[in-house]
């Protein structure tokens, strides 16, 4: 197989895997910080128990998130060295700032939080988890600054055969960033919320620690609703921005080959025939695409065929004649729909949950609770499909309008080497996933009880009070 394809597979594998842990980290850190704040303010021990129990699950996830993140930073150089040479001037800066500003903060204060329960004053300890939470979000901000540049390059000039930064402010005020960042953060809040809700539902069904899980569920449902609605609104803003900046991605995500009529209908289902560039069957909702794209019930969108001609005129001189600017249509189309579908389901579930909770019928609604358990997967799926749509939909570009993916790969790394590393990552990811799920399930089954510490139990010194 050719190195470009293998490097892309590796990027997809490592990034998707890493991004299972990232949103859960961002979401849970925030929820735990909230719980601990309730503990410090209300002085109710149950909130401390909550921060500790969810904290245990959080840390298992955090560990895997951190180590799989290091791969990302190394990977640009290892597999995409020509990309790194071309955009390092612009792209490297947010990465370095992420490390300086966010990683140091996250890692130092997580250490203070884990080891500081008995050693730090309550308020300082609370501040630690908030700083971890802020750190995770800052980390998101800077990596998305870098990603936004790949979607909508700004603040650069082409000099000496590469993109050089000329306006830092433009990078961090990139319109793309400000639709993408809220979308990712609210998506992460959903991930944390549905995790807490699902685990709580599982235990409520088993009638274990009812007070504890009821309170957890309550917090989760509120954040779930805020998060899922936030994702929808920011997603809408992003779609409108997409029409302006990357019309081809939008056309592919909608499966429109020809220019749409005005007003444009939204396709709920289409049987896409990529080869003949048409859809064999369509199920359309009138007006909806116009609304999605322009927030009003009029306006048409350009189809992929028109855009191909327009892109060819504009970009062929950069990347060569006869380039196909149409991304994999089916992948983009369906991942978009799956993302939206799971997102809608989350809004619905949070609303139903809050309604039942208000009516005091949540504990009796075992059917609803039973749905919440598999719904843990919804935000993970929505996050993943969202990124697949964003990144696959940008193809053939790695930096839109500037550099194609095929030109970005390391010229000095062979297919065999990349394949070997893919196999190693796959092996280690599989083991890690297995261990992590095993440990999570164990912790969940054990529930919010104080951990029996085997070693310290053995070493109790009868003459030393500190030992007890």
């Amino acid at each position: 197989m050719d190195p470009v394809m293998l490097a892309r597979i590796q990027f997809a594998l490592t990034t998707i895997y890493h991004f299972f842990f990232v949103p859960l980290t961002i979401g849970l850190a925030f929820i735990i910080a909230l719980m601990q704040t309730l503990y410090v303010v209300k002085k109710n021990e149950i909130y401390k128990k909550m921060a500790k129990f969810w904290g245990h699950l959080f840390l298992i996830n955090f560990a895997v998130g951190v180590v799989t993140g290091i791969i990302q930073e190394f990977q640009f150089g290892m597999n995409w060295s020509d990309y790194s040479r071309f955009v390092g001037d612009v792209f490297g800066a947010p990465l370095a700032i992420e490390a300086l500003l966010a990683f140091f903060m996250e890692s130092t204060f997580i250490g203070l939080w884990i080891f500081g329960w008995d050693r730090l004053p309550k308020k300082v300890h609370l501040a630690s988890i908030w700083l971890v939470s802020i750190g995770t979000m800052l980390s998101g901000f800077w990596i998305l600054t870098a990603n936004s540049f790949m979607q909508v390059p700004v603040g650069y000039e082409i000099r000496n055969g590469r993109a050089e930064m000329v306006d830092f402010l433009a990078l961090i005020t990139n319109g793309q960033l400000w639709v993408e960042f809220p979308h990712v953060i609210t998506g992460a809040l959903c991930t944390g919320a549905f995790f807490v809700a699902g685990v709580s539902a599982y235990n409520l069904l088993k009638k274990k620690h009812i007070q504890f899980y009821k309170k957890s569920m309550n917090i989760a449902l509120i954040i779930g609703l805020v998060g899922s609605l936030g994702t929808a609104f920011s997603g809408h803003a992003q779609a409108q921005y997409l029409v302006k900046t990357q019309p081809m991605k939008m056309a592919a995500a909608e499966g429109i080959w020809e220019d749409t009529p005005d007003p444009a209908p939204w396709s709920a289902f289409a049987w896409i025939d990529t080869k003949n560039q048409k859809n064999k069957f369509e199920l359309n909702i009138p007006y909806a695409l116009s609304y999605l794209s322009y927030s009003k019930f009029e306006g048409s969108l350009k189809g992929m065929k028109t855009l191909q001609a327009e892109y060819a005129k504009k970009y062929d001189r950069i990347v060569g004649e006869g380039t196909n600017y149409i991304p994999p249509v089916k992948t983009t189309y369906w991942s978009f729909r799956l993302m939206v579908g799971f997102g809608m389901a989350m809004i619905l579930l949070s609303m139903i949950g809050l309604y039942l909770w208000k009516k005091g019928r949540l504990l009796q609604s075992s059917r609803f609770l039973k749905i919440l358990v598999p719904a843990i997967s919804f935000p993970f799926l929505a996050n993943t499909f969202g990124w697949v749509m964003t990144e696959v939909g940008r193809q053939p570009w790695t930096v839109f309008g500037l550099m194609t993916t095929a030109d970005a790969v390391s010229p000095n790394v062979s297919s065999g080497t990349i394949l070997f590393s893919i196999m190693m990552y796959t092996l280690i990811f599989t083991i890690l996933a297995g261990v992590m799920v095993y440990l999570m399930v164990r912790e969940i089954k054990r529930g919010p009880v104080e951990h029996q510490d085997v070693n310290s139990a053995v070493s109790i010194d009868p003459f030393n009070k500190a030992g007890v």
């Binding site: 001037d89 130092t108 930064m165 440990l439 310290s456 010194d461």
Partner: protein, 337 residues
């Protein structure tokens, strides 16, 4: 001084800081396998670095990020050229990172033992391989006119680079042992001091051979003879003094000296490199330097402002964290990891 030169210094500082800090937690991780008599002692040892190791590792992440931002060509050439070495470093760091968190999540001796082996190899391989990387870089790698490096096995792995890796690893181990004697009580404290004392001699010998090999294999003593000689003398002094302080049970000073030893050794590499960032073994003209590998002036200026603003805070809360966890660790208390 040009901004690109300042960034070379800053990146050197990040790597010197990385080896000073992560150096001792690598060393502690390595010594768990032969200094601890049982799992209980290993648990104590692992907990001495518990609150710190993650933040220490960020020095490496930041160093790599800074290379990417300030010297994209250096980053691209090094990471793609040392592909397999980087892969193994990554696998080591991954195994080690999760092992700290997972090791006592299940009350089972075999479970803990398995993760402790991960901590051992994850603490041994990265410093060794990073040592191999930096020393082979100093010797020169087959970098062509297009700045791409096509390294064969013997370019990366040869007597000189192995010796470099070995020396760095020994330094980390010694540094870890002085850290342990500073942070533990009773038997472990005594045993780590005793082992450190013996190890000083081995480190000494290893450094002497390394300096000798360097004078043959690399050009660092021709590039900066006086500066490098001063550094070598200082390394000898630091390591010698560490022996003195270990013997006199002045653990804080001993730890400072082994730390100085590591920092000076790493700085000798960067001093020898400058102004090059990657030496080409094919042709001097193909060397990557701070001038031809760097980002534009604007980018460097922004990064300088950002770094100057954030770094004081980072140093501040890092010191705070070490202050909070300044006490010795023993199994009489609740141990988290």
């Amino acid at each position: 001084m040009e901004l690109s030169e300042i960034w070379f210094v800053l990146i050197s500082v990040l790597f010197i800081g990385f080896f000073f800090l992560e150096g001792f937690d690598f060393g502690v991780g390595m010594s768990t396998r032969f200094l601890a008599r049982d799992q209980k002692e290993r648990t104590v040892m692992v907990n001495t670095i518990g609150p710190f190791w993650d933040a220490n590792e960020v020095w490496l992440i930041t160093g790599a990020g800074a290379i990417f931002a300030a010297f994209p060509n250096w980053y691209a050439t090094m990471f793609s050229g040392y592909y397999l070495l980087m892969l193994v470093v990554l696998l080591g760091l991954i195994g080690r990172g999760v092992a700290f968190e997972f090791r006592r999540k299940v009350e089972d001796t075999r479970w803990t033992n398995t993760w402790d082996w991960m901590i051992f190899f994850g603490s041994l391989l990265p410093p060794f391989l990073l040592g191999v990387l930096f020393t082979s870089m100093l010797k020169g790698m087959p970098i062509g006119e297009d700045m791409n490096m096509e390294a064969g096995f013997s370019d990366v792995i040869n007597i000189y680079s192995i010796w470099g890796g070995f020396t760095i690893t020994l330094l980390c181990l010694l540094h870890g042992l002085t850290f342990l004697s500073l942070k533990t009580e009773g038997e472990i404290r005594q045993r780590s001091a005793a082992l450190a004392k013996k190890l000083v001699l081995a480190v000494f010998g290893s450094l002497v051979v390394f300096v000798g090999l360097s004078s043959f294999v690399t050009d660092i003593f021709e590039m900066r003879p006086i500066l490098e000689l001063i550094i070598v003398v200082l390394i000898v002094l630091a390591i010698g003094l560490s022996y003195y302080f270990i013997s006199n049970k002045r653990e804080g000073m001993a730890f400072t000296m082994t730390g100085l030893g590591i920092m000076l050794t790493v700085s000798s590499i960067f001093v020898g490199l400058f102004p090059r960032v990657m030496v080409s073994s094919l042709n001097k003209a193909f060397d990557l330097t701070v001038y031809n590998a760097s980002s534009g002036a604007y980018s460097l200026k922004i990064m300088t402002i950002v770094a100057a603003t954030i770094l004081p805070f980072v140093l501040g809360y890092t010191i705070y964290s070490y202050y909070v966890f300044r006490k010795r660790v023993s199994d009489k208390e609740h141990l988290t990891y």
